[in-house]
Structures are given as C-alpha cells and as structure tokens.
C-alpha cells in the first residue's frame, strides 16, 4: 500500500539508470589501495552543526585519491537528556535510543523512507557501542535520542555492479557512526567514561586467489580484490576497553592469531579516529 503521507511518484516502478559500461571499463576493475596498509583516511569532524539540538556533529571521511569514490558523510544530532514520557516505566539509568538512517540519495541504490533491517541493525550496534561509554546512572528517569543521518555512503560510484560489498560498507558506516555519535554526545555534555571511537580493519586478498592475505585498516571495498573478513571495533583508549566488537567473515578457527591481529588493527584504526575526535573537541573548548 502506498504511503499516503509522502509524495510517492509514479504508480509504475522506476528503474535506476543502466549504464553502458562496455566503452569505459571492464566488469571488474580493481583500483589498488592508495594508502599504506595501516593508514586510515583523513577525516573531518565538526561539532555544533545543528544549533537546535543539545549536541551535534558532522563527520566526513576524505574521498580517496581516485575520483568518483565518495567519502562517508554523516550528520548526528543528540537530543537530551530529557525527562521520559509519563507512560514510560521507571529507569534507574538514562534510556538510550539510537536511530541510523541512510538518506534516500546516499547510496547507489535509492533508499526508502522507512528504515530497513540493515539500518536497524546498525542502530543496535551503535547503541551497544555507546552504552558502554556513557555514565548512565547519572541520569535516572531520563532519555536521550541519538539520530544519525548517513548523508552519503562510502561507495564507489563507478562500479556499476555490486560485488557483495554492502556488508563491508555497513561496517565502515558503523565505524563512522560511532565516532560521530561520540563527538555529538560530548557536544551535548553527556558524561562518558571516555571518548569512544570506531575503527575498521579487514583481511584482504589483493593478488589473486592464492596470495597470502594481509590485514589493512580502514578498507575501501572497491580497492581490494577480495575481503575475507573484517571487523569494526568501538574502543575506549584510556581504559583500554572494547565496547562493541563486530566481526564478520570466514576465518580458520585454528589460526587465532589471524583474528587477534585483525582486532589489534581495528583498535589501531579506532585510536586514529580518536585522535581526530579529541582534537576536534579540544578545538571546541578553546
């Protein structure tokens, strides 16, 4: 049934443009990684973009050297702490609600207006990552809303076909979401045990099926031939603790070192993001 509260457009379904690829590139051309394996992309973080909210932040991750690859752009606003509605049951802690939504124009495929399961999933990951960082018992009976709009996803515009990259894109998006939400929480003046930041690392295979896989931080799916596994980590640097860990891939269980290495690199990426975060917050204070 059509959503009567929105302008729905034509009754017949529309199709996104199909490009005639023959002239430009082969079906799958891989750009090689433009950075060293343990370098993250530059990011730009700014707080206070939504003056009407209690706290807000905007994060942009640099577009990589290759043109046409868009960087991640996230906008986050925090509303609260505010009192819970009367109907809500008593809570000894602050009630956190997270909401992650892609803008309709954020990705190669036009997104719908309602949150799809993957966006809900991102919201839960984000909630787990933040709940560990917030000192929740300082605000009993109150709630805080954290809303993230993914203005632009981290996708290569030129690759016309998906290569099953969406899941890895989600991980990159989650890493950004955690960092930007931490900045917005700090902007809203909500007490946290530490600044939490997200980092992503991946195990990639760049030179054919038989090559030895390497671990890289902050992977861009289009820059790698095959991603075997990736993890996204939310990390509190001064406490040396992990509030959220999301690993996905296919690793031999016998080789625990491979996994440990991946997590270590994820933490390293998170530390890098944290430096930017702390720098941005210090700038705001001045």
């Amino acid at each position: 049934m059509a959503d009567r509260r929105r302008i729905n457009g034509p009754a017949g379904a529309t199709i996104p443009p199909v490009f005639d690829d023959a002239s430009t590139r082969g079906p799958k051309s891989i750009k090689s990684r433009s950075r060293p394996a343990n370098a993250t992309r530059k990011m730009y973080l700014k707080t206070g973009v939504t003056p009407s909210a209690s706290g807000s932040a905007y994060l942009e991750i640099e577009t990589s050297a290759t043109p046409g690859v868009s960087g991640l752009k996230l906008s986050c606003s925090v509303h609260g702490p505010r009192s819970l509605p009367r109907s809500a049951p008593f809570s000894p802690h602050i009630v956190l609600s997270t909401h992650v939504k892609y803008a309709p124009f954020a990705t190669k495929q036009r997104r719908g207006y309602l949150r799809d399961p993957s966006e809900r999933d991102l919201g839960i990951h984000l909630e787990a990552a933040l709940r560990g960082a917030i000192i929740a018992d300082r605000w009993p009976k109150s709630g805080v809303d954290i809303i993230i709009s993914i203005v632009e996803g981290d996708q290569d515009r030129e690759t016309s076909q998906l290569q099953g990259d969406e899941v890895w894109d989600m991980m990159n998006a989650l890493g950004g979401c955690i960092t930007v939400a931490a900045a917005a929480l700090a902007d809203a003046g909500i007490d946290c045990v530490d600044t939490v930041a997200g980092g992503v690392a991946a195990l990639v295979q760049d030179a054919g099926e038989d090559s030895i896989p390497t671990v890289v931080v902050d992977p861009i799916p289009s820059e790698h031939e095959k991603i075997l596994a990736a993890c996204c980590i939310a990390y509190l640097p001064t406490r040396d603790e992990v509030t959220n860990l999301w690993f996905r891939g296919d690793l031999p269980a016998s080789d625990i070192d491979l996994y440990t290495n991946l997590v270590e690199k994820g933490i390293q990426a998170s530390k890098n993001a944290n430096r930017v975060l702390v720098g941005c917050l210090a700038e705001t204070i001045q």
Partner: protein, 372 residues
C-alpha cells in the same frame, strides 16, 4: 515598597514567556529615551525586514544527479536529486506523445528558433505529462533530529507533509523543469531539445539505424527530489525551495538512448546533459506577530499592533499564526509573482501584500547573489 525584581537571563525568559519577550523586544523604541536599551529589534537581533543571509552550495553529493546545501541562518537543508527511468510500458493510460509541438524536429532539429516557436504549446503539453505521470517527486524529511520536536521513528508530521505538498505544487505551477528534458526518445538525439553538442553524435547514429521505425518516447526520467533538514530554525519553506532550485540547476542527467537489441534504455557514463531550469523563482516568507497573545485573539477583528517579521525563526514561528509566502521571479528583468500563499489570521490585506511584493523583490536579488 517596591516589588522584588527577579533578574532572569534572556534565554530563560524567552523560554518561560516567549510572547511578552518578543513583544518587549519589538517595542523597545517606546523607551528609546534610555540610551542603554538596544533599538527595536527582534529577539534574534534582526530588524523586522531583515532576513538571514542565504548560503547555497551546489554539488555537494556524488551519488545524486544534482544536489545542493542551503543554509539560512541556523536552518540547513540538504537536497539531492536522483533520476530514475520510467519506461512507458509502466505508465497506466499512457498516451503517445503528440508531436505537434515538436513538429519542427522532423526537419532536422529546428534548434533554438524552432524551440521558441513551439514553446507555448509544448510547455502546456509538457505540464500535463509532468503532472499526469508524476515525474517530479519531492519529499521533505524533517525527522532527522533537526529540532527537538522532530524525532525519527514516527510518520511524517503535518508540517513535513504540508511542505512536501507545497514544494510539489510549486514545482508544477512554476514550470521550473520542462518535460522535454525528461523524455527519452527511441531515436538518439531527438530528445535533446536545443542541446547542440549532442546533435552531431545523435544524427550520425540515426543515419546508421535507418528510419523504418517511428520515433517515439520510450521512457521518462523521474526526478526524486529529497530534502533532508540537517538543522531547523524556522522558515523551512524558503530554505527548502531555495535548495530545490539550487539542486535542479545543478542537475545533469546522463545521456540516455534506446537500445533496440536489449529493448531497454541505456545511459552513457561519460556524457551528461544539464537540466534546463526555467527562471529562478525565490520564496519569501514573513510571519505576522500580533500584540495580543495567540490564545486571546478571537476570530473577529484584529486589535492592537502587529509586526511583519520577515524570515521568521523557530521561536517566532511558534508565536505567529499568520504567515505569507510570496514566490517571485525577476530573472527576465520584470518581477513576476509566481505564487502567493497566506495562512491563518486576518491581518494581511491588500496594502500589505502590495508592500510585500517589494520586499520579496529585494529578497530575490539577495538570493540570486547567493545562488551564483
């Protein structure tokens, strides 16, 4: 004995009793004898006829075909235009396009002269297609946490729905986009309007393929115009409309052609065609602030003074129940009023509207400067 005076910081006062707060600010001149007092102004420091500067930045997104970011004070809107194809088979009750208006094309692309001659009829015809097939789809998303009252997880609010509908009807009534830009013809080169750079390539192909099949419209571009409020501080319509215009001016569609073998429309990755946007309509909104508080005002005659607050912010919008929006376009040298909308209240009369046209004209110049 003097009554104890309580000193409240201004923001707190504004929250506790916004109406008297704004009223006292506006009537400050009455006590102008006191030089320490600031001159009459709105709570945000602007004069009644003073707008916030508008900043527009185009092409900020890479996945959209056209985009813009418009800032109007603390109101920030992001607009992305995304084009998708609607094959005519999907259109219920599709009428093959009447080529009367396009007659001059048969004689080898009449070019600009021919376009001018056919303009009237074609535009009229085009309007019908745009509306009948719903080729423009504007939607406004306020629930991005842009203001505390707009939290996600709920269906679009009445305000968001109203704004979307207003943008939708204004898009159609101003004829900002012509349907000829959105048609995809079965023969290459025939849908490109006056775009000369495409003609050469188009005609060459036409010769190769022969002319046994009649040229027809095979698909339409549908423009999904999505507006995302990043931050909300009043006057959403002016900001949203400016963002729509800026994004459409920035839109370029890939050159599409019909592939008879695969029976589908294929787009070129390299060639793009700028969308033609007619004119530069600019919306200008003012709210009427009445001396009496909202609750007290009856339905009858207006009593007391009133102020016309141009470009109202969030606080002011909540205190005013009457607002006027005028859309003007001065791009052809003359001021043309594209639309006047007025909601609520009884204050604005003929004189005020006439005066407001002048204000809107001034606003147009400011916005035009910002859009450059």
């Amino acid at each position: 004995m003097t009554a104890p005076t309580i000193k409240l910081p201004a923001p707190l006062f504004a929250r506790l009793s916004p109406h008297p707060f704004l009223l006292r600010n506006l009537t400050a001149t009455a006590a102008a004898a006191d030089p320490a007092r600031p001159p009459a102004a709105r709570t945000n420091g602007r004069g009644t006829n003073e707008t916030r500067p508008l900043h527009a930045k185009a092409s900020s997104l890479s996945h959209a075909h056209g985009s813009s970011l418009v800032r109007l004070g603390d109101t920030t809107v992001l607009c992305g235009v995304r084009a998708e194809l609607l094959p005519v088979e999907r259109i219920p009750l599709f009428r093959p396009v009447d080529r009367v208006g396009d007659g001059e094309r048969g004689g080898g692309d009449g070019g600009d002269g021919g376009d001018g001659a056919g303009e009237g009829g074609r535009a009229l015809l085009g309007r019908g297609e745009l509306r009948d097939y719903d080729l423009l789809v504007p939607n406004i998303e306020l629930a991005t946490g842009s203001a505390p009252q707009f939290l996600p997880g709920v269906p679009p609010t009445a305000l968001a729905q109203t704004l979307s509908t207003r943008v939708y009807s204004l898009l159609h009534s101003t004829g900002l986009v012509g349907v000829e830009d959105l048609r995809v013809w079965s023969k290459p080169g025939s849908g490109e309007g006056g775009d000369t750079e495409m003609e050469g390539a188009g005609e060459a192909q036409e010769v190769q393929e022969g002319v046994e099949e009649e040229d027809r419209v095979v698909a339409y571009w549908v423009l999904y115009i999505d507006l995302l409020f990043v931050s909300f501080d009043g006057n959403p319509f002016d900001a949203a409309w400016a963002a729509v215009v800026a994004a459409l001016r920035n839109t370029s569609l890939p050159v599409a052609r019909w592939d008879p073998e695969r029976e589908m429309v294929v787009c070129s990755r390299t060639e793009k065609r700028q969308l033609n946007v007619r004119g530069l309509p600019v919306a200008c909104t003012a709210a009427v602030f009445e001396e009496k508080e909202l609750g007290e005002v009856g339905t009858g005659v207006v009593e007391g003074r009133h102020w016309l607050l141009l470009d109202p912010d969030r606080l002011e919008e909540t205190l005013c129940r009457e607002a006027i929006t005028m859309v003007v376009d001065c791009s052809d040298g003359e001021t043309r009023i594209k639309s006047i909308e007025k909601q609520g209240g009884t204050t604005i009369g003929r004189e005020l509207i006439r005066g407001f046209a002048v204000i809107a004209e001034k606003r147009w110049k400011e916005v035009q400067g910002a859009m450059k």
